[in-house]
Symmetry: C2
DNA sequence: ATGAAATATTCTGCATACAGCATGCAGTGC
DNA sequence: GCACTGCATGCTGTATGCAGAATATTTCAT
């Protein structure tokens, strides 16, 4: 009568049995198409050929269309009636607008993070920051960039606000396409790192206004750095 | 090679020749489903039966599924692999989180509106406000509510920031489902009206901090008013 | 040769068809 | 009587088929 079946308490501590993450094709496609757009494989302004693209990816048009609808709601593509979907093109003003909203969100997140963030979470951000400094010193731009994003994401996540996290992610994704292009000179890079340092300190002190201000300034400067490249 | 057909430059300045609003079925469905969810015809937590719902609406599953994907990206429904879509259920904390973000967005919008809003736009908001006061005095709750929303939307639109407008609309839509329920007593209603009056005055004076503060306080109070009902 | 109408082709949008997974139920062994 | 296995059913996920719109091409008139 010892029921030890079907429940995750079997012998050997099968704690890693993992619910076996299953992905639907349309979901995979959403991510794939997003990457293609970000990396420029699908040029802004260009139409998306369902038949051709589907064949190229080895999927039928149905899941592809579903993925496109999803991305349309996300704002990465535009749906034109009877004419399919085109990859959305962002004007410099669009980018500036997005950064304005992103800045406001991060400022909010910073304040909330100081309130409700746990000590562990703060330590985690610090760890990411230190790791990022390593990449900075070794000149590893790509990983620096990734850790940079990760830090911002982590801070936003510390706010424990799902809506804020989602919208922040959406914006960050859209801007990835742009920022990928933005190359900063060494002195600007150093400035960005310094700003990050400020942020971390403010966070560790749970200094709301300081963190919020630092995040805001950081993004304002980010716009200054990329605006000529857009 | 001068193709001048199919373009809206016909003779006689027929400004109402109508680009002939060609609406795709999936697009219509998006709006229809959204309304169904907001009005509670599709209960939170309930699964969406594609076959059944499709037959009920007289459409095939394909455009229906596309609409569902769109709404999933909007956050109104949740996609469960191999098990279809369920109408998302929002916890009180979710609602509070959304209102927090909404507040931050309106504060931002208020500041921007004071900067870049035109005199005509301000006058328009004032007109909406006066109209709303009429509805308030006559006790017309429904139209009061609609004008209330219209005013907030108008202020956000004055910021001339497409991203901000879109995200604000998304949030407002999600919360509509909730606020529809929120019934305030007469004294709270009066307070809300007073807050609105403050907002309009601040806007007409282009007083950034005052408008931002008034908008923020207004939404904070909105949460106080509905939080027991969620 | 040029421009416009007519035609052909391609692509989108929707419907239908089919395959695989999930769930509920009956049957079987203990 | 209880639990598990195997089957049946229903639903989701994907592919394909078909009609109409949009675009490219050809043809014809000037």
């Amino acid at each position: 009568m010892v029921r030890m079946n079907s429940v995750n308490v079997g012998a050997g501590d099968v704690s890693s049995v993992a619910p076996l993450q299953r992905t639907a094709l349309h979901d995979t496609l959403v991510n794939h198409l997003r990457d293609m757009i970000i990396e420029g494989n699908l040029a802004p302004g260009s139409r998306i050929h369902e038949g051709q693209l589907g064949e190229q990816l080895g999927v039928s048009r149905t899941p592809l269309r579903e993925a496109i609808k999803y991305l349309a709601s996300e704002g990465l593509v535009e749906l034109v009636p009877s004419r399919g979907a085109v990859v959305k093109r962002f004007s410099p003003k669009d980018v500036e607008d997005m950064l304005t909203v992103l800045q406001s969100m991060e400022e909010l997140a910073g304040r909330l993070a100081c309130e409700v963030g746990s000590a562990e979470e703060i330590a985690h951000v610090r760890a990411l920051h230190d790791e990022m400094l390593d990449k900075y010193r070794s000149g590893d731009r790509l990983n620096y960039y990734k850790l940079n994003q990760a830090i911002h994401t982590a801070i936003v996540q510390m706010a424990h606000n799902a809506t804020l996290s989602n919208m922040h992610t959406t914006l960050q994704t859209r801007l990835k396409r742009i920022r990928f292009v933005g190359h900063e000179g060494p002195e600007k890079w150093a400035a960005a790192v310094a700003e990050h340092e400020e942020m971390i300190v403010a966070l560790e002190q749970r200094n709301k206004p300081a963190l919020s201000e630092a995040l805001g300034r950081h993004l304002k400067n980010a716009w200054e750095r990329v605006k000529d490249g857009v």
